[in-house]
C-alpha cells in the first residue's frame, strides 16, 4: 500500500544507453523524516533524485508521492510543485534578485499575487538568514548565500518534501556550515528531506536513516549510528570511514 508513506520508491531501474546505473532501488520516506544517501560518485544518486521529479524519467519502477504515482501521472508539473529540489550548483536564476528567484515560482506557477509572493519570499529569506540580501543578484552572493537562497526558493513553494543533491559540494569548506545549519533547522522543524551528501557529521546527527549505495544497488540502510559502528557489510564501514577521513565530521 502506497498510502502510508510520503514518498515510496519501488524497484527503480535506469540506464543511460548501455550504462546501467540503477539496478533495482527501493526505499521510502515518512512524513517528517530525513534520509541521507551516500555512495561513491557515479553510483546513481543524482539519477534517483532526477527520477523522482521526472527530470529524467526512470526506465522501470514506480515512485509514489502519497497516493499519486509520479511515474504515471499526467500532471507532472503539479507534482513538481510539491517537491522541492536543491541543486549542487544552486540553479539560481541569474537575472533575478534573491527575492525574485523565490517569487517567480510563486507568481508564475502558483499564480499568487506579487504582493503575497513578495511577503512570503521575504519570510523565507529571513528563515535562511538572508533578509538583507533580498535585492542582491546571484553574482553578488557568496556560494553559501546562493545555496541558502536556493533552499528558500524551494521552501517558499511549501513542498511536502525537499530533495537535496550534494548541496554543499561546490562550496568552500568554510561556507558549508551555514548551509548545513539551515538544513538542520529544517529537519528539526519537521520538513521531510532526502539528502545526497558526503557530510557525515550531518548524516550522523540529523538523519533518521542512512542509505549506502554502490553500483546501482542499496548495499545497506539503517540508523546512521549503527551503520558507522556495526555495519553488516564490511564495504559500508570502509566507505563511511573513508568519507569521514576525507570530509571530517564537518558542520555537525
Amino acid at each position: 500500500m502506497p498510502t502510508k508513506h510520503l514518498l515510496k520508491i519501488e524497484d527503480l531501474h535506469h540506464s543511460f544507453g548501455s550504462n546501467q546505473v540503477l539496478k533495482g532501488v527501493s526505499f521510502s520516506l515518512n512524513k517528517g523524516e530525513t534520509k541521507v544517501i551516500v555512495g561513491p560518485s557515479g553510483t546513481g544518486k543524482s539519477t534517483i533524485l532526477n527520477n523522482i521529479i521526472r527530470l529524467v524519467p526512470p526506465d522501470q519502477g514506480k515512485i509514489y508521492l502519497e497516493d499519486t504515482e509520479i511515474t504515471a501521472t499526467k500532471k507532472i508539473n503539479e507534482v513538481r510543485q510539491q517537491i522541492g529540489f536543491v541543486f549542487q550548483d544552486f540553479g539560481l536564476f541569474n537575472h533575478l534578485t534573491a527575492l525574485g528567484n523565490i517569487m517567480v515560482g510563486l507568481t508564475k506557477v502558483k499564480k499568487m499575487t506579487k504582493q503575497a509572493a513578495a511577503e512570503l519570499a521575504l519570510n523565507e529569506l529571513d528563515r535562511v538568514g538572508l533578509k538583507e540580501f533580498s535585492d542582491s543578484y546571484p553574482s553578488q552572493l557568496s556560494g553559501g548565500q546562493k545555496q541558502r537562497v536556493g533552499i528558500a526558493r524551494a521552501l517558499a513553494m511549501q513542498p511536502k518534501l525537499i530533495l537535496f543533491d550534494e548541496p554543499t559540494s561546490s562550496l568552500d569548506p568554510e561556507l558549508t556550515g551555514e548551509v548545513l545549519k539551515v538544513m538542520r533547522n529544517l529537519a528539526e522543524d519537521g520538513m521531510t528531506m532526502l539528502v545526497v551528501t558526503h557530510e557525515m557529521g550531518f548524516a550522523r546527527s540529523v538523519a533518521d536513516e542512512l542509505i549506502f549505495m554502490e553500483g546501482g544497488h542499496i548495499i545497506e540502510q539503517g540508523d546512521p549510528e549503527q551503520l558507522f559502528t556495526e555495519p553488516v557489510h564490511q564495504r559500508t564501514r570502509e566507505f563511511l570511514f573513508q568519507l569521514t577521513d576525507l570530509y571530517g565530521e564537518g558542520g555537525a
Partner: protein, 228 residues
C-alpha cells in the same frame, strides 16, 4: 568649386541614398531575425535531422560571398523566369546571410543560460514554455545584445554592395555625384563619414539599451569591444 560647397550640394542626394541604406538595413535585419530565430530554436531544441539541415543552411549562407549571392539573385534568377525588383533582391540576399549569423548569435545566447537554470525552473513546476519565457529568454536577450549590435553594423555596411545590382542607396548616390563633379576623394570621404555616423548610432543605441537593462553577472560586464 570649393570642397565644402561641393559637399553641401551633394548632401541632399547623399541623404536620399542614406534613407535607402537605412531601409535596406532595416528590412535585411528583420529578415535575419524572422528567419534566424526559428533556425536558432531548431538548432537548440530540434532533432538531429533538423539540426543537420540548419547547419548546412548556415554553412552555405556564410560561405557564399554576399556579392555572388546578390548577382545570383539579380542576374541568375531571371534566367529561371523569376525577376525580383533590385531592392527586394538586395534585402533577400543580405537578409538570408544575416539570418545565418543571427541564428548563431541566438543559439549561443540561449545555450549560454545553462541547463541548471532550466532544471531549476522545471523543478518548480514550470512548463518548458514558461521556463523559456521567464527564465531563459530574459537572459538570452541581454547576452545577445552586443553581438546583435555588431551584426547590425556589419549589415549596415554591407548594404553598400546592393549598389552593384542597381539599388540607389548611399554609395550609388555618391557614384552619381562623382560622375558629375569628378571629385571622388571628397565624395567618398563624405560617404564614409555618413557610414561612420550610422554605425556609431546603431552601436550607441544598442549599448544604451544594454546599459539600461544591465544586470550584474549577465553578459559581458564593463562593456564589449566594438569589433566593427
Amino acid at each position: 568649386m570649393d570642397n565644402l560647397d561641393l559637399i553641401q550640394q551633394a548632401l541632399p542626394y547623399l541623404l536620399e541614398g542614406t534613407v535607402v541604406t537605412i531601409e535596406l538595413t532595416f528590412w535585411s535585419l528583420l529578415i535575419g531575425i524572422v528567419i534566424g530565430l526559428p533556425l536558432a530554436f531548431g538548432q537548440v531544441y530540434g532533432n538531429k535531422a533538423l539540426k543537420f539541415v540548419i547547419a548546412i543552411y548556415e554553412r552555405l549562407a556564410r560561405s557564399i560571398p554576399l556579392l555572388v549571392m546578390l548577382l545570383l539573385l539579380n542576374y541568375g534568377l531571371p534566367r529561371l523566369g523569376l525577376r525580383i525588383p533590385v531592392f527586394r533582391a538586395a534585402v533577400i540576399g543580405i537578409g538570408l546571410r544575416s539570418a545565418a549569423y543571427q541564428s548563431q548569435i541566438y543559439r549561443g545566447a540561449i545555450q549560454s543560460v545553462g541547463g541548471s537554470q532550466l532544471k531549476a525552473a522545471l523543478s518548480l513546476g514550470m512548463s518548458r514554455f514558461k521556463a523559456f519565457f521567464y527564465i531563459i529568454a530574459p537572459q538570452a536577450i541581454r547576452i545577445a545584445i552586443p553581438p546583435v549590435a555588431n551584426e547590425s553594423a556589419i549589415v549596415l555596411k554591407d548594404t553598400s554592395l546592393a549598389f552593384t545590382i542597381g539599388v540607389v542607396e548611399l554609395l550609388r548616390q555618391g557614384e552619381y555625384y562623382i560622375a558629375t563633379s569628378n571629385k571622388p576623394m571628397v565624395i567618398y570621404l563624405t560617404v564614409a563619414f555618413i557610414y561612420f555616423v550610422l554605425t556609431t548610432l546603431v552601436n550607441g543605441g544598442l549599448s544604451l539599451f544594454e546599459r539600461k537593462y544591465q544586470i550584474p553577472g549577465i553578459g559581458i560586464e564593463g562593456g564589449h569591444s566594438d569589433a566593427y
